[in-house]
């Protein structure tokens, strides 16, 4: 029943879920995921990521909408019939079973005989680079090792979809990087369609083919990492993914691809209308990332006063107070001659390029 290798497609079709308590956790989510893709579900705490994952796995029956895996609508199938592998945030290894018994558990449930089960468990433990741990109990393993076992256990049933709920949240930074590479490698080898839940934007951008950004149960944007980072569709995406300066302003003139905005800080700049066209005279919020601002020597751009300069390794971040009293951050690559700006120095700032400033209709 479960496909051997190569992932199946996954369609989340207008899924809405309201908990019995009344909380609307997920609202009209549409995702169309191709077989073999790695997708990251990115969003702040409580935005409904886990809920969506549990709906796909079959632990929660959604209030509305459909889940389609391959060509099958799976809404009527219980979790044990969906062939969906899941790695829980706390790993949820069976504490009383040895590592190899844990990995072989799903095969036993499928009636695979003992010798093939053990052979397969050993093969998977080699795949996750733990071949010598087979007889240990889970609590004798480190967090990263438990994580690998959980992964091997989920892969053992040859799932058509692999779900990972904040898989690296409990690991320290170095181990996290190792495991991210590891998971990506395993995913490449097996080609299993994979959904990773995370609230770590770097993780989402580095691992995923496409990123789905959620906020308050709604899908804000679903696109490639560069789409999400460079061409955010909503103000939320722009501010949640990466850091940004928000500068209020008024639209002077606009067409579909560019808008001239008069910033309250005192300059006219060209920005990209993020979501459709903007009307003349409307108030907007312009987002410019710190690394997309530059100091200019001429009279273009807007004026400001340098507050503090923070050297952060490869970059230097300057805090600048603009004419309207708001603060912006400017990050500069640290090149040899980068002179430290004295606190209180008067400077002028402008975006590197028009396409790097995004304008959103101002919300009150």
């Amino acid at each position: 029943m479960a496909e051997a290798q190569g992932g199946r497609s996954l369609v989340v079709d207008a899924v809405t879920h309201r908990y019995p308590s009344g909380a609307l956790a997920v609202e009209n989510i549409n995702l169309d995921i191709k077989g073999g893709e790695i997708i990251a579900l990115l969003g702040p705490s409580g935005c409904g990521k886990t809920t969506l994952l549990r709906i796909i796995a079959g632990f929660i029956a959604q209030t509305q909408g459909r889940i389609i895996i391959g060509d099958d609508i799976v809404d009527a199938l219980p979790p044990n019939k969906r062939a969906v592998g899941i790695v829980f945030q706390n790993y949820a290894l069976f504490p009383h079973l040895s590592i190899s018994e844990n990995v072989a558990y799903g095969l036993a449930a499928r009636g695979v005989d003992k010798t093939s089960r053990q052979r397969e468990a050993q093969r998977l433990l080699e795949l996750v680079q733990l071949p010598t741990m087979a007889e240990r109990l889970p609590r004798r393993l480190s967090g990263g090792q438990q994580q690998r076992v959980a992964l091997a256990r989920a892969l053992a049933i040859k799932p058509s979809i692999l779900l990972l709920d904040e898989p690296f949240a409990a690991l320290d930074k170095n181990l996290r990087l190792d495991m991210q590479i590891e998971v990506k490698r395993l995913q490449r080898v097996s080609g299993i369609t994979t959904l990773i839940v995370t609230h770590d934007q770097e993780e989402a951008l580095s691992m995923a083919d496409r990123v789905a950004v959620l906020s308050h149960g709604k899908l804000e944007q679903f696109g490639s990492p560069s789409d999400v980072y460079d061409r955010p569709q909503t103000l939320f995406v722009n501010t949640f993914v990466g850091s940004t300066n928000r500068m209020p302003g008024v639209v002077v003139s606009a067409d579909r691809t560019a808008a001239k905005v008069r910033l309250d800080a005192g300059a006219e700049i060209i920005a990209r209308p993020a979501a459709g066209s903007l009307t003349e005279g409307a108030r907007v919020t312009v987002c410019i990332r710190p690394e997309h601002l530059q100091f200019v020597g001429d009279a273009s751009g807007f004026a400001g006063v340098v507050g503090m300069s923070l050297p952060l390794g490869a970059t230097v971040v300057h805090e600048v107070t603009t004419a309207d009293g708001s603060g912006v951050k400017v990050s500069q690559a640290r090149i040899g001659e980068t002179r430290a700006l004295a606190s209180g120095a008067a400077v002028r700032l402008a975006p590197l390029a028009p396409s790097l400033a995004n304008a959103f209709p101002a919300t009150l």
Partner: protein, 287 residues
């Protein structure tokens, strides 16, 4: 580590703190027990001739051995009933909302809030010839003549099971509550059905609670003097009543003492079987 040379192992406490309790035990537990042992090693009621006669008498007397056997069996039956009824209650407790949880806990604890005597008399009312059970069955036309429920092994087991139920259910609730609910989901997502999940995951992980519950229920059931004698009546004789008769009615103190010692050893044997099982399952628990 060794900051201060005179640093003391923090896990060792002054034993002096335990002295009052030790004294209490010595005075009111060890001393009477030794007296009992001393008494049981006499062949005559006056306590003049040393010997193992009382023990020989008990161990060669079919009647006495029968009483011991039926008492141990009674304990096993009550424990089994409590386990079979208590496990689903504990399981349910972990799966319902907080409101229902309060209700379940209340129902489970209710037997502890009323006196044993009152509860036992309630069972007499329920199980008697004109009791609720018989009256209901008769009015429904299921039976013609009243069933004999009181003064039977069945009656004693049912009444004791109700009385001892909290001792089984509470450890089970604790044990089941310590199992990570994600394990259920993990098992399910790996393709296991509910029965496999229960027998391979839930049951093994709740074993410490099962063993604690069984030990408590068993020990309480076989020594439950009041319920055993009131529901069992004259026909059913169990060790506590046998002991009482020998000591109080027949004034045969050495024989009563020997019965006590034998009963004590039998109970200790059963309890140590439970604890050994518990130690074997300790590997699970934690985590």
């Amino acid at each position: 580590m060794g900051a201060a040379p005179a640093s003391r192992d923090v896990t060792s406490y002054g034993m002096g703190l335990a002295a009052p309790l030790a004294l209490f035990f010595l005075l009111f537990f060890v001393a009477p027990l030794l007296q009992l042992l001393w008494l049981s090693l006499h062949n005559d009621t006056a306590g003049l001739h040393w010997g193992l006669g009382q023990y020989l008498h008990f161990l060669t007397d079919p009647f006495s051995l029968g009483v011991l056997g039926s008492t141990l069996l009674l304990g096993a039956e009550v424990t089994a009933v409590c386990l079979l009824l208590g496990f689903p209650i504990a399981w349910l407790y972990q799966r319902v909302g907080p409101k229902l949880q309060t209700i379940i806990i209340l129902i489970v604890l209710l037997p502890l809030l009323t006196s044993v005597v009152v509860r036992t008399f309630a069972w007499i009312v329920i199980l008697g010839r004109q009791g609720i059970v018989n009256a209901t069955l008769q009015s429904l036309g299921i039976i013609d003549t009243p069933l004999k429920l009181l003064y039977t092994q069945f009656g004693v087991v049912i009444a004791l099971a109700q009385v001892q139920m909290p001792l089984m259910t509470l450890p089970l609730i604790t044990a089941l509550g310590r199992i990570d609910p994600n394990l259920d989901d993990a098992s399910c997502s790996l393709g296991a059905g509910s029965w496999r999940t229960f027998f391979r995951i839930v049951l093994p992980l709740s074993l410490p609670g099962v063993i604690a519950g069984c030990t408590l229920t068993y020990a309480a059931a076989i020594t439950a003097f009041i319920t055993q004698s009131l529901i069992g009546g004259g026909q059913m004789l169990f060790m506590p009543m046998y002991l009482y008769q020998q000591a109080s009615t027949l004034q045969n103190w050495p024989f009563a003492a020997a019965i006590s010692i034998i009963f004590l050893l039998a109970v200790l044997a059963v309890v140590s079987v439970f604890t050994t099982l518990g130690r074997l399952s300790r590997g699970y628990g934690g985590a």
